[in-house]
Amino acid sequence: MKKTRVLVTRVFFVTTITGMRVELRGVTKRFGSFTANNQISLTVEPGQIHCLLGENGAGKSTLMNILFGMLHAEEGEIVIDGQAVRFADSGEAVRRGIGMVHQHFMLVPVFTVAENVVLGFEPTKSLGRVNHRAANDMIHELSSRFGLDVDPDALVENLSVGLQQRVEILKALSHDAELLILDEPTAVLTPQEIESLMAIMRSLASAGKSILFITHKLKEVQAVGDVITVIRHGEVVGSVPATTSEADLATLMVGRDVSFSVTKEVVEAGPAVLSLRDVVIRDDRGISVVNGVSLDVNGGQIMAIAGVQGNGQTELVEAIAGLRHVESGTITLGGRDITNKTPRQILDAGLGHVPEDRQRDGLVLSMSIEDNLVLNTAHFRPFAKGWSRNLPAVSSNAADLVERFDVRTTSITADVGSLSGGNQQKVIVARELSRPLTCFMAAQPTRGLDVGSIEYVHRQIVEQRNQGLGVLIVSSELDEVLSLGDRVAVMFSGQVVGVVDPQVGRETIGLMMAGAKPE
């Protein structure tokens, strides 16, 4: 009984507190030679919804892991209400009033909502029995105050994703969180669920809670944010009010400064090698994310797809490679219909594919460089003799490609996982370009690479185009799109807004990325 009372007073205590001011000052985090966060400073005021906007890999998650005590910054400090703090682990962060809702929920599916919320801090009756009544009361109290409607007795496994997320938020609130970090909370939600999440965020903010909202979706930021901090390449590129236009936000996100340029010869574009007609694709949630895309990639031409991430580009690339089901429409490669064909058939038809997530889809990190260089050609001559692998041919192929593509490694038998990101990407590019191709498709070809590797990959892409290959590039780096593309297709909410010449300028393309039709 005593514990119950403590718990209830704790809940009341929450109402009397007037929020918390959290400041990050000059936070820097390096992983080896890579700087994930460089001198990041930002301030979250009490009752403020502070949006952290940036592409995948911009350093948002690293920053939040630092704030939540899971990583330690090399430089800089965290200041709460004027007092510098250091968190040894996330437990300390929780005790200082920071709560985090991860993208992947940490709930026990077979427990009820109430059980999940009090897990580890259960109010007990005599003999250590869990006091369900007190737990339920607490959840009723919390949910009515913040408009987080959820049945305490429901089993978590029976709840929709949106409701499970509420349970996570309740969990954080039950630990007296004053600052809630929401890590890409909308990525798993349906549009309706996103609406209600936003309502919850507003009610939390009006109750004095601060929220750090991480996302790469412009619309959401404008709908709910008070202040927007944009991060790119691990640096703050701007802190702007929520009234900033989507086009401006998009340009901020994908970059303003020209960091590279490519010299291209003029090449006569050939006939279409890859054609998409009215392609419709659904994502894992069953929501249609590509809504009737038609596009032609010609030989000797680089078609670059621009757009803020999450507008259907990822799914489009997956569908072309045969990794995602095409709902309707047709995709033809070199005159052959490859719609919903197997990845093997599509590879054999001459598609070179550099996947967006290279470590997940492009490489086997625990295998050697030479094996990774024949990952999709191991069954063909000269790499196979009957049922046997021809290892001398595999080795000489690797020696040749490592040399030609300038992969920096001590040995071709080293695990590909031991290479830097740039060299891993070179391995994939080398493998794909070493096959006879009709069309070369690369998604985010230079994401996370150092300047030298970026330049190298770009040169390779342009060289292939000069030799008459059709090239499709998907990139969220505006500079990359503008300098590489012969034509630029801009995607917005699952559709190609328009295909333009890169000369039209970044203003126009920025507007198109926010959905405006070109005139």
Binding site: K60, M70, P343, L347, P355, S366, N376, W387, S388
Partner: protein, 411 residues
């Protein structure tokens, strides 16, 4: 300090060194178990409280008992050194001298085959717990082919072997198809199939034409002499080690070739290491799943066939059931051998030696065979947790990086 440096250098040599340490640890803990459970030893230590000098006799009793147990294991598994020296000097009594070795190899033969079966599945990311059931099916198929079909030896032995493989492959095909086309989890399906197959074995040996004529018990017909895998040293020698040993050697070679040199094995390994990359590289996951179960099941079936055709020559209701379940031990051995065919050879020999030697120990010292199981378990425990072994022997190579809960960067 010199010892530490020596251990460090050993450890740098990799998994084999770790396994060696694990074995030493297994024997040390086994010794503690002997001390704690042997009345004589405990009594000797009890006297130490009254007279401190009794510590010497207590130590002597301890060493005598532990030493006797481990000596018995060694003699039972490999043979006694004095017998070897006698045979070498006189040229007499070789049969008796190498009989323990023959028994160890007899035990290791089906174990190595089944372990390769499990290992190939493991490397594909598939947990084939059903190897035992598949081995039983292989034994049944072999018993049928050996007793119901009559052929000359040159044809009969290959025929029964092939039937054994087919029987096991059939047992593998069921979970394979269920996983590939219905998404059923192979662990559950194979685990449950083990029970079904155990009862199928009873049915076959009790209610079909395969049952030994004139018998009411659960026992099958005995296979023809032409289907028996003959002992290497001849039937009259009394040494049981059979030509199955060469089959096991061939299977180990096949396993090595398949995993490291074949194109299909390459696909298997890619699938096991990174299914996403396998898919993007055009590897057909269904085909891989079906094939891995056919191959793994087929080899497990061969293990059962070899066991039947070289030792029992029939199957009965207890064939590979309970502690004789070679397919279950194979899972442990594959783990112990780190899923490398050569590691599996050493692993099966070690397990066989401990089991065979353990029986001798039980007979000559009264310490139960379970001690062998304890040592085996400890070895596996420590091989499966190399970090722990390194911790105990203080073998830090470098400061091991703390796993970080990051997303987006690093690995």
């Amino acid at each position: 300090m010199k010892i530490w440096n020596f251990l460090k250098r050993l450890n740098a040599r990799g998994p084999a060194a770790t396994a060696f340490f694990a074995l030493i640890l297994g024997f040390i803990i086994g010794a503690l178990v002997i001390i704690a459970t042997t009345a004589v030893v405990l009594n000797a230590w009890r006297h130490v409280f009254s007279s401190p000098t009794a510590i010497f006799s207590a130590l002597k009793v301890t060493f005598d008992n532990v030493g006797a147990a481990y000596r018995a294991i060694f003699i039972g598994a490999v043979g006694s050194p004095s017998a070897y020296s006698h045979s070498i000097t006189t040229g007499q009594g070789w049969t008796n001298t190498i009989d323990p070795l023959s028994e160890t190899l007899t035990y290791a033969t089906p174990l190595a085959i089944a372990s390769i079966a499990v290992c190939i599945a493991f490397r594909t990311g598939i947990f084939n717990i059903g190897a035992n059931g598949q081995a039983i099916l292989g034994g049944i198929a072999g018993a049928w082919a050996g007793s119901m079909v009559h052929l000359p030896t040159a044809l009969h032995i290959p025929f029964t072997l092939i039937l054994g493989v087919l029987g096991g492959a059939l047992g593998g095909l069921i979970p394979g198809v269920l996983k590939a086309y219905a998404g059923a989890h192979e662990v559950i399906v194979t685990l449950m199939l083990n029970y079904i197959i155990a009862f199928f074995l009873l049915y076959v040996t009790l209610s079909t034409a395969l049952q030994q004529p004139g018998q009411a018990n659960d026992i099958s017909r005995t296979i023809d002499g032409s289907a028996v895998l003959p002992p290497i040293f001849g039937t009259g020698s009394g040494l049981r080690v059979s030509y199955g040993l060469f089959i096991a050697a061939a299977v180990v070679l096949f396993g090595w070739w398949f995993l490291n040199r074949s194109t299909l094995g390459f696909d298997f390994r890619i699938t096991g290491a990174n299914p996403h990359a396998a898919r993007a590289a055009g590897i057909n996951a269904r085909r891989v799943i079906i094939f891995v179960f056919l191959i793994s099941g087929g080899l497990a079936g061969l293990a059962g066939e070899v066991q039947m055709a070289s030792t029992t020559h029939f199957v009965d209701g207890g064939f590979l059931i309970g502690s004789a379940g070679v397919g279950f031990t194979a899972i442990t051995v594959a783990l112990l051998g780190r899923n490398e065919p050569m590691g599996i050879v050493w692993g099966s020999l070690l397990f066989a030696a401990l089991n065979v030697g353990g029986r001798t120990m039980q007979a000559s010292t009264g310490i139960p065979l379970d001690l062998a199981a304890i040592i085996q378990s400890i070895v596996v425990l420590f091989v499966a947790s190399p970090v722990l072994v390194k911790e105990i022997f203080r073998l830090h190579t470098t400061t091991e990086a703390v796993q970080l809960a990051t997303k987006g960067w690093g690995q």
